[in-house]
């Protein structure tokens, strides 16, 4: 049984991601804010989080900080989605296993990455 959480404030992109993950994840939760994400994570720990960086209210980095602060959430693999250049951003220790550029990402690479995460091919830490 695998569970993914999509945190994305564009409903169009959420629909796309839900469809992309549909064949490789059993349960997909979605929300459009970091606050709602924390509530959902408290209910069910996901096996992977797809996280948009620019969110209304607290942003994706705030959520990453929050996840890194607790024992039970710091090991959750996070796939960041952004159209910002994050190459100079220090993300060590935040559970980030992959960063996708929203303007160039392709469905098959998202799916492959999620499958690899679920098969524990990525190590968080």
């Amino acid at each position: 049984m695998s569970r993914a959480l999509i945190v994305e404030d564009s409903s169009a992109l959420t629909d796309c991601l839900r469809l992309i993950l549909g064949s490789c994840v059993n349960e997909v939760d979605t929300c459009d804010s970091a606050i709602e994400a924390i509530q959902l994570i408290n209910q069910h720990l996901p096996d992977v989080i797809l996280l948009d960086v620019l969110l209304t209210g607290p942003d994706g980095f705030t959520l990453l900080n929050e996840l890194a602060s607790y024992q039970d959430t710091m090991q959750i693999p996070v796939i960041l989605l952004s159209s910002l250049d994050l190459t100079h951003r220090r993300l060590d220790g935040y559970g980030v296993v992959q960063i996708f550029d929203k303007t160039t990402m392709r469905p098959e690479e998202i799916r492959q990455t999620v499958q690899a995460v679920l098969q524990k091919e990525y190590h968080v830490g």
């Binding site: 169009a12 942003d59 469905p107």
Partner: protein, 235 residues
Amino acid sequence: MQSEVEKTAGISGVLVAAHELKAPLGVIRQLALTLQLAESKAMRTRLESQLIRTTEQALKQVEDLAKIPQLQKEQPVFELVSVRAICNEVIHEVRPLFCQERRRLQVAYHNRTKVAVTNQNLLRSVIYNFCTNAMRYSDQESESQLTVQDYHDKIRVSVRDFGPALPQSIWRKLQGGHINQPLPVAMRPGSTGLGLYIVSQFTQVMRANFGAIKHVDGTSFYVDLPALEQPGLAL
């Protein structure tokens, strides 16, 4: 002759506009790629309608931007306009967007006896920009409020959202009443303030006042339109 400052502002404005339009283009591309994966008719229809709406919104913004240089050369036509009728048209247009994003839009008309003296196409764009801005910066399931009311000798059209606060630097620019170029800072997440720049340019040509009111839990953007007392005409 353009001054160096104007040239720099122009280039920076183009960059900011390009950045703002990158987001919908990225969404359109992703929708097109994902459409091939949709197996059910319902999902295909949903993605197609997302594709159309995202494209239409981006096109509208490009059209508004393209209008700005023309407005500086040629004064638009002013006429007596029922603000309520224009609001109804915009609401009809944005309602599906609000539904798609799981947001709500509440409308209140308190204006009874005045008609605006304005250009209806520009007014339509201003209200559309206010509404889509409120939609973007509201939480899911939250309600934005479009209000039309008499305000001294003018008609005030305002749209209130319940989103994050505006930075102080933007408030100072808004209080000055005019934004000369798209703002080269993200005023709210994911935004360059391009919509505000468009509204600022349009309202200046419309001889209307544009401003914002800060609330504890959001912002109202408003435009005060020149108006005439016309009891027989007002709607």
